[in-house]
Symmetry: C2
């Protein structure tokens, strides 16, 4: 029988558990509301129940849990995600592994999506891919030769904190003038409120821009300029085979992608112009489950190799 | 008998050929002036003679040539380096391989130094290292799991063109406000000339700063601030195990390194503060020969693996 792997996508709103086969197909998936306010013990209890339910008829090899950060993927500890109130250094892999009895691994949610997209989505068959998700915040994941590069301290692809405009717009706990301060959904909404006097958030700015509102067009252009600088800086650091873009802002991808490609071309060496591939995500909300499952699988297989 | 590998360090001023053993030791090295004005045929002829001389008593496995870019490492073609006049799409690996009869590979000179430092210098034993050389220009090399990550188009670690200050100082064929425009030896010299009315270049600015000249201190501080932003952006992209710094500007490393570490700490996530390792180069001018030789070795062994 083919091996199967559990992938968990723990979000601030929904908790989803899927069963994934060796070729990255989701065989089944269950979803419940996270009900984050109930705290971590309730969430993990319900997560364990969901895992048991999904794996009932199968003997799964490993579990991979994708969770919001900050977290320590190496120790399996969720540190203190802003959208999971009350979580503080929760040893989630230990708790789940004890309850289920199969090897469990933890991964940053953006890293999970990055790995899913790299293996079976926009980065399939490519040597490397750099995934960037632009929503309320900006995160990402970097995959080289089908493996996540998590970095020495687990901080790779934390591109939201890249400095784009030194001394620019302030933003929460991040650098002034950071990518997240300038190009996130939050920042587009902030500019919309200030300059268009609207309260519908980034979505309304995009709608107005589509209808030809000049100031809305300028707001989008400025945000995409910051994102293009961030992408050009990533290109001049690692020159990935493909940049994969996801997140809520990509609902406006028909407007954004051509603009972004043009801007990136203007910021890279001449020899790279026209050659930088920027792809929208292929797997959408499936990437997190598939990537978490495959991260668990890869880690399990690595440990087995080391044991032999 | 132990295997040996040829490493060539082709510079605008000197041409050096070394014989490197399996543990990265240089067994012998020969150096002649490049005499770049004589053109590529003369240089390659003399390079071939030097290789023959160095390998006389040995049966070397492979040749690795480190050359200034732009070049295509995959095709083995040197495109048009500014400091090698008259070179235009020179198929150097083909020419050398034909003359010597052993497999020959081409690598960017900064990449060669990066690999040398990663294997036997400041990055030894580490999972990844990012090498940055700050001299007249700014270049670098990125090594992950003891292998160069050259990038999809061979443009990885071209960090001189990273944008630090959008719309800032213009610089040759690079982005306005690029790292090279703000933090290279050339840029420090430019500011020294403009603000201190000196003509002694970056070296004189460092000398004056050491003697307490306030404007010189400010010039160095601004350059290091740009470099710190560049390093923080690299950290938030790939979180390498160690950053290795080389190049002429590092002659002032006692002044630079503490300043740089303090600035980098102020630009990274709180969880990373005090943890970013920035190391001076260990191998100095040996890194290029050792790295070129080891790049040749790795490529040769890879091809052999594929053939079997």
């Amino acid at each position: 029988m083919e091996n199967v792997y559990i992938g968990v996508d723990l979000g601030g709103t929904n908790l989803r558990v899927g069963l994934v086969d060796e070729s990255g197909r989701i065989l089944q998936v269950k979803q419940i509301p996270t009900e984050a306010s109930l705290g971590y013990e309730s969430i993990i209890t319900r997560m364990v129940d969901l895992i048991k339910e999904v794996k009932k008829a199968y003997s799964a090899v490993s579990i991979g849990i994708g969770s919001p950060g900050p977290l320590n993927p190496f120790d399996g500890v969720v540190v203190s995600p802003p959208n999971l109130p009350g979580w503080q250094d929760v040893p989630i892999t230990e708790m789940v592994e004890e309850a289920i009895g199969i090897p469990t691994y933890l991964v940053n949610d953006a890293d999970a999506a990055a790995l899913g997209e790299a293996l079976y989505g926009g980065g399939k068959g490519r040597e490397s891919s750099f995934y960037i998700t632009v929503s309320t915040g900006i995160g990402g994941g970097y995959v080289q030769n089908n493996r996540l590069i998590q970095g020495e301290h687990g901080y790779s692809a934390e591109v939201g904190n890249m400095i784009i405009k030194p001394g620019g717009q302030k933003h929460a706990n991040m650098n002034a003038g950071s990518l997240e301060a300038l190009a996130s959904g939050t920042s587009i909404a902030r500019e919309g409120k200030a300059r268009l006097e609207i309260s519908g958030g980034a979505e309304e700015v995009f709608e107005l821009a589509e209808k030809g509102n000049e100031e809305a067009v300028v707001i989008i252009d400025e945000a995409m300029d910051a994102l293009a600088i961030g992408i050009a800086n990533i290109v001049h650091s690692i020159d990935p085979s493909v940049i994969i873009l996801g997140g809520g802002v990509m609902q406006a991808k028909d407007m954004i992608l051509p603009l972004l490609k043009e801007k990136v071309d203007s910021y890279v060496y001449e020899g790279l112009r026209g050659k930088i591939e920027i792809e929208p995500v292929h797997l959408h909300d499936k990437a997190g489950i598939i990537g978490a499952a495959m991260h668990g699988r890869q880690n399990f297989e690595n440990e087995k190799l080391k044991d032999n």
